[in-house]
Chain length 190, copies 2
Amino acid sequence: MQLLKDRICSEGKVLPGSIVKVDGFLNHRVDVNLLRQLAKEFKAHFGDRELTAIMTVEASGIPLATICAEEMGVPLIFAKKAKSDNIEGGLFKSEIMSYTYSRKVTLIVSAEWLHKDDRILIIDDFMARGEAMRGLVDIISQAGAELVGIGIAVEKGFQGGGDRLRGMGIDLYSLAIIEEATPAGFRFRE
Amino acid sequence: MQLLKDRICSEGKVLPGSIVKVDGFLNHRVDVNLLRQLAKEFKAHFGDRELTAIMTVEASGIPLATICAEEMGVPLIFAKKAKSDNIEGGLFKSEIMSYTYSRKVTLIVSAEWLHKDDRILIIDDFMARGEAMRGLVDIISQAGAELVGIGIAVEKGFQGGGDRLRGMGIDLYSLAIIEEATPAGFRFRE
């Protein structure tokens, strides 16, 4: 999606270790009008699949997933990252490695709010190795629900997570796939 | 706001310790159409104050704050709860007590994305003792920005956090203030 690629080129930054920062418009100070444009693009791709809910992981995927849920007329379910005292029993859980925080994290979704007749589209702002996606796919499978597809705003193609999910037969649609990120600039997958 | 109070009465639950759960529509499986109605109500109250951004804390306040930001035509800034390796130096920080997780948590906002000419409306889904709000007010003050007001969907009035903020002269507008929550039902402040 050219709009998003242009924005990455003009405002994205690259830190050592090929860390891509797009927090000025995507995941810290968030341009919600841009998110609405991205949501329309996801709707064009996934909107006819009789979705019943959008799923994401807290926290930075939530703004985009919220706008997508409204755009497609379904509720938003977000997986949480730690056990709070306020969640009763009956949880779907999946342990993932968070490279952002350099530690293992358990994703949880209350069994009360994810059902076997759900048809789920996963939405996230960013994907590198795809660990969070692996956890959500696992949780959807535990619930006996159906995964319709995955929509990602920015995929770091060179880290392989996206292609691994595609190899599993999942319809993964990323709006911008970065193949190379250096201080000199970005190169996208065609 | 009657719409929200009705929803709390029909779908909210009360756990031991007067813990109020509204996760079936507000903060786990989220009814985004309801959030749009709440956002319109906040806009009616705060919309003429020349806001430059909406602020919230990750994670459960983000869906409502996202819709509010779009409704009012400003960006969304969300404070993060732990230091990730991907945030450069230059942070505003405030330590708060999280009663949900029974431990201290540090809220952080990158100084790059909160400016002294910002006019901020804080939005959150839920307030009990008001610790998260105290942290955000502190961060806004550190940035030299202006706090225009605070909008809360569900306030637990009997825990005193809201009245403490009102006592500081802050324009705090809560759409439903629960004065009593028992297994028998809810009583709201008039």
